[in-house]
Symmetry: C2
Subunit: 209 residues, 2 copies
């Protein structure tokens, strides 16, 4: 594996584990047993590493958010779909942990992140619209607007919230984080579903949680 790729890989791991602000270029080099000078041969600065990692994340999110399917999604689809989103967030969670600090340093990242957020919301809105037309969901257009915003907020900040709120109990495993996030987002959708879909959702929750 090329040094350049190893730098990206190692940076991602350390950023996720320790938080981006606490990891310096020296830390990354030391962890890889290369010299700081070598790292700077491959990247001009730390921001360039972050920008590259963000690009990877963005590409991944874009493919997830495409939703090429024609048919109306059922509850199980939604669960799995949300799971993919949370999985991607989890693998690049350092971005979310210090979101403001990272986005403030780089205007381009801010714009791109906002686009991802907008895409998340429009995808969610489209799914809801489909469910309404299939009479699975009962919601006005205003309801859907507010709902998609809430979905975006909870999906974006769930890991942060968990990190504060659950720090009392035993540190949860990766799959716990993901499943609880998916569940929490679906509780937002739940009150708008018809009885049958609500029942279905309860069963799926019991199965996965």
């Amino acid at each position: 594996m090329k040094t350049r790729d190893r730098i990206l890989q190692t940076s991602l791991r350390l950023f996720n584990e320790e938080g981006e602000p606490r990891i310096t270029t020296n830390h990354i080099a030391a962890e890889m047993d290369i010299s700081p000078g070598n790292l700077y041969y491959h990247f001009h600065n730390k921001d360039e590493i972050i920008a590259l990692l963000f690009q990877q994340f963005e590409r991944r999110m874009k493919t997830i958010l495409q939703v090429p399917e024609r048919r109306i999604p059922n509850m199980e689809d939604m669960w799995l779909y949300l799971h993919l989103v949370f999985e991607a967030i989890w693998e690049y969670r350092f971005l979310y942990r210090d979101l403001d600090s990272i986005l403030n340093r780089n205007k381009k990242l801010r714009t791109h992140f906002r686009r991802i957020l907008e895409r998340k919301m429009s995808t969610a809105a489209a799914i809801c619209q489909g469910l309404v037309e299939a009479r699975i969901m009962n919601a006005t257009s205003d309801d859907i607007t507010a709902l998609t915003r809430n979905i975006a907020v909870v999906a974006t900040y769930w890991l942060n919230f968990q990190g504060i709120h659950a720090s009392t109990t035993t540190p949860a495993s990766e799959s716990d984080h993901l499943a609880s996030g998916v569940y929490q987002v679906l509780t937002l959708v739940n009150p708008f579903l018809n009885d049958e879909a609500q029942q279905l959702l309860r069963e799926i929750s019991r199965e996965y949680l």
Copy 2:
């Protein structure tokens, strides 16, 4: 006004405006036209300033979250109540902007912040319970658990979300931030309310938003 208090006041303003990580003790001293040495006469270090500001915030939140009233709150009560919470968050928004970074540096703050979060949720749960008993709200105990978590997430991270999402449009005024946050939280509660309460909520929203 004593220098010590002016330091706190100036720090709070600069932290809120520029973000806590970007404001150094030298910045604070320069802004006040005092020497860095003088600042260190009054505070041992930057963390001590932050801890004091946090204490102010915590006291304020505690008094808001007391809810000494006996009677069942109506929709207007809830609006005003949430408004107080968002107002307090707004005035100490630097804490929320770099929450992870600040809480990671100081374990004590983390514990106290978690307590505030828990208190927020138990207060919200108590209010919901009251509404259910008054037949204004229709929700199971599981519904309320999930709902209060969602309320906590949205209330905690609304400003951050707004900062990313709305950065395209004109920078909103303070009152816009608050009102939109209150509205957004109430959209979480709305689907559980009976028709009459939902109607009431729509009217209040139109009035304040």
